[in-house]
């Protein structure tokens, strides 16, 4: 019983990062109708950003968020101007197809770049508090992973606030709901697209930092994280960032439960089962409009 409870706690802890990873993908897809399959590679880059800041400059990995997030925002803006900005000119139905091509190309390029810069080795960021554990009864909660969950929740909350209060945040939501109506209210929707893509990239960078400090990073983690994020987006549906976060927790717990019940290899399968079942039973997702 204790072992299962312990597994479920670890599931919740990684689930927060699934939620954060999915929030960026959901924002970009919801607003631009563009599926960025290189989202996991952007997470990977954020991880290496934190890794570099820690090893070269000795920056604490949590503090490095203050640099990784603005850096990712800028990277997102550059990627929009250089690549994805061309996709949104296309008709809505051809957008997803074109974005898949661009996304796969970008994913391959970023993977090769990461191998070149950081080798194919797995890296992590050791800190003085890495081994700290919070003990509750028989359960051990790793403090760093608990902190990543708190940071993930904080960032999702900040995003939610930005989307509901900021003038351009409202513009992003309006564009996601109906881009023609958004145009008619005087919104420059290209700018809303740019901001959504930059914010999505910033969320990916932040998620990558937290993944690297709590787990590890290597050039090949991208596809896995894109897949997890995609499962959460399908599970939660579009339109609610809090819903996406909860969807991440659900996936984390479901993975832990399936690993505890059927054995380790089933961890990866449950996500795909959820994917198929949600699409069959409730295609708009748990919290989707």
């Amino acid at each position: 019983m204790t072992i299962i409870a312990q597994q479920l706690i670890l599931g919740v802890l990684i689930g927060g990062l699934y939620g954060l990873a999915a929030a960026g993908l959901s924002l970009v897809f919801g607003v631009m109708r563009v599926l960025n399959v290189a989202h996991g590679e952007l997470i990977m880059l954020g991880g290496y950003g934190a890794f570099w800041l820690a090893t070269l400059l000795g920056v604490d990995p949590f503090a490095s968020l203050l640099l990784v997030i603005p850096g990712s925002l800028l990277l997102g803006a550059l990627l929009y101007w250089g690549l994805f900005g061309f996709v949104v000119r296309a008709h809505e139905e051809t957008r997803v197809k074109n974005s898949l091509l661009i996304g796969f190309g970008l994913a391959l390029a970023l993977h090769a770049l990461a191998v070149r810069l950081w080798t194919a080795d797995e890296r992590s960021i050791p800190t003085s508090y890495s081994g700290a554990v919070l003990t509750v009864g028989d359960l051990a909660i790793p403090l760093v992973r608990l902190a990543t969950l708190a940071f993930a929740l904080l960032l999702i909350g900040a995003l939610q606030l930005l989307l509901s209060r900021w003038r351009w945040g409202k513009a992003i939501r309006a564009t996601a709901e109906d881009w023609q109506a958004a145009l008619l209210t005087g919104i420059d929707i290209r700018r809303a697209y740019l901001l959504a893509f930059a914010l999505g990239t910033a969320l990916a960078g932040a998620a990558g930092t937290l993944v690297t400090v709590a787990y590890s990073v290597s050039p090949s983690i991208g596809l896995e994280w894109t897949l997890k994020a995609l499962i959460v987006v399908v599970l939660a549906g579009l339109g609610s960032m809090i819903g996406t976060f909860i969807g991440g927790l659900v996936l984390g717990v479901a993975e832990a439960a399936s690993a505890a019940t059927f054995g380790g290899p089933y961890r990866e399968i449950i996500g795909l089962v959820i994917f198929v079942v949600v699409l069959a039973v409730r295609p708009r997702g748990l919290f989707g409009r």
Partner: protein, 243 residues
């Protein structure tokens, strides 16, 4: 104020508007009448920059609107209430209205604009925190008109505002349009409800098959035999012929 000359537009290979020339002066109410598929919506969408015309010119205070993106057309003082309202369903009445004032020219004054809309449609003030998808059709149409007004336009274009509304609500909307016009806003009204449109409009154009086939004052069009036969139905013709 608005001058459209020789406008040609369509979708793919299908021509929807051919050689349309019309104009709207400051402070006017102009109706554009015609059957389904006559090209009325295409014409409005061309002015708003949602559809790129094939040929012809659209001048607004001397500036060619064809080169401008929609958000810049709104910035210039033209607003469109689109067919089917196109509200942001998940947002509240107030959020929808405030987004209507997104243009930089009006954003700072959105509180005052909101008060003007609430004065025009008091029921919206009561329901300001309600998600618009929970409103009745008539109230949703009020939000749609209000959202366009939030941009403080000098020309308000409306695409079928009475569609699907009960007669009493059509009356409310028309009264509001009259009040808006008295405040100095020109109104360009696309309608299938011809008696309603012509009771309000100073002038009207008839659009059939993408071409202007008639124009005149509201009263003249109401009396026109073709208009009566085609748009007001056999009842109106019979009344005309009655002894």
């Amino acid at each position: 104020m608005l001058e459209i000359t020789g406008l040609e537009a369509g979708y793919g290979d299908v021509r929807a508007v051919s050689g349309v020339t019309l104009s709207i002066a400051a402070g006017e109410i102009v109706a554009l009448l015609g059957p389904n598929g006559a090209g009325k919506s295409t014409l409005l969408n061309c002015v708003a920059g949602l559809v790129r015309p094939w040929a012809g010119a659209i001048h607004w205070d001397g500036e060619d609107l064809r080169a401008l993106d929609t958000h810049l057309v709104i910035e210039r003082g033209v607003a469109l209430v689109p067919e089917g309202r196109r509200l942001f369903g998940g947002m509240t009445v107030q959020e929808n209205l405030e987004l209507g004032a997104f243009a930089a020219r009006v954003w700072a004054d959105r509180r005052a604009a909101l008060d003007r809309v609430f004065a025009l449609f008091p029921v919206l003030a009561e329901r300001r925190r309600t998600p618009v998808q929970a409103l009745s059709g008539g109230q949703q149409q009020m939000v749609a008109v209000g959202r366009a007004l939030m941009a403080s336009p000098r020309l308000l274009m409306l695409d079928e505002p009475s569609l699907g509304l009960a007669p009493r609500l059509v009356d409310t909307i028309l009264k509001a349009l009259d009040a808006i016009n008295r405040a100095g806003v020109a109104v360009f009204l696309v309608e299938q409800n011809v008696p309603a449109a012509l009771s309000l409009a100073h002038r009207g154009y008839l659009l059939e098959g993408g071409r202007i086939v008639g124009e005149g004052s509201g009263a003249a069009l109401l009396a026109d035999a073709h208009v009566r036969r085609a748009y007001l139905g056999p009842l109106a013709v019979r009344t005309e012929n009655a002894p």
